[in-house]
Symmetry: C2
């Protein structure tokens, strides 16, 4: 359940807990500084489009936890360039990872990325 640094942009936002007693989620405990807010907003913005939520969800629920672009265009009903574009945004946000294997590019959910984001929002007292 613990946290390892990855390429996720909100890495240093999810550090255990500052000196102030851990009463609730970071976002709720103290006013986020502009830099932190910008980092966070970039990740949320990546999830702020229905197509991208579906893509993330489809990839996560897919066999083996990964999927290639060819698996994704038909479910979301969009062109290949558009799907590639959305996948790139999800990768840039640190939510998906891309791995080239042969002719195919496989996308998978970055382990812990959603957990960290969720923990940031959740008031896990103590």
């Amino acid at each position: 359940m613990c946290v390892m640094a990855t390429t996720l942009t909100l890495t240093d936002v999810s550090r255990p807990a500052p000196e102030s007693g851990a009463c609730c989620a970071p976002l709720v405990r103290e006013a986020a500084d502009p830099q932190t807010a910008a980092d966070l907003a970039r990740v949320f913005k990546a999830l702020g489009d229905p197509t991208r939520v579906r893509l993330l969800s489809i990839v996560a629920a897919h066999d083996g936890g990964e999927a290639c672009v060819c698996d994704l265009t038909e479910p979301v009903g969009l062109s290949q360039p558009t799907v590639s574009h959305h996948l790139k945004l999800l990768v840039d946000a640190g939510l998906l990872a891309r791995e080239q294997r042969g002719k195919w590019a496989y996308y998978s959910v970055v382990p812990g990325a959603l957990n960290r984001l969720g923990a940031l929002l959740t008031e896990a007292a103590g």
Copy 2:
């Protein structure tokens, strides 16, 4: 920790767990249908702007868990109409509540809204 129906748009998304054994977060367990994805994206989109993340955070961390517009314009450095606009988007997303008291409009975080959103992302096994 349980869920009460509020105005939050993702109410029926965070129901306990379907028949399939609860292994992980809903978003990761099965591919989200278009309607669910759209509802979710609308909430994430509300958090997809640095100003709104800051506003939410400032309101949550403010004395009494609430703040009026006049408390918020100066910290974020934007005009009053712009701040009102952003607050409206957060209210529409079900993240903030608005209460008129005298001349002032007080905004506060909707109880449980962030928890539900966080739970949706977090793989709380069991």
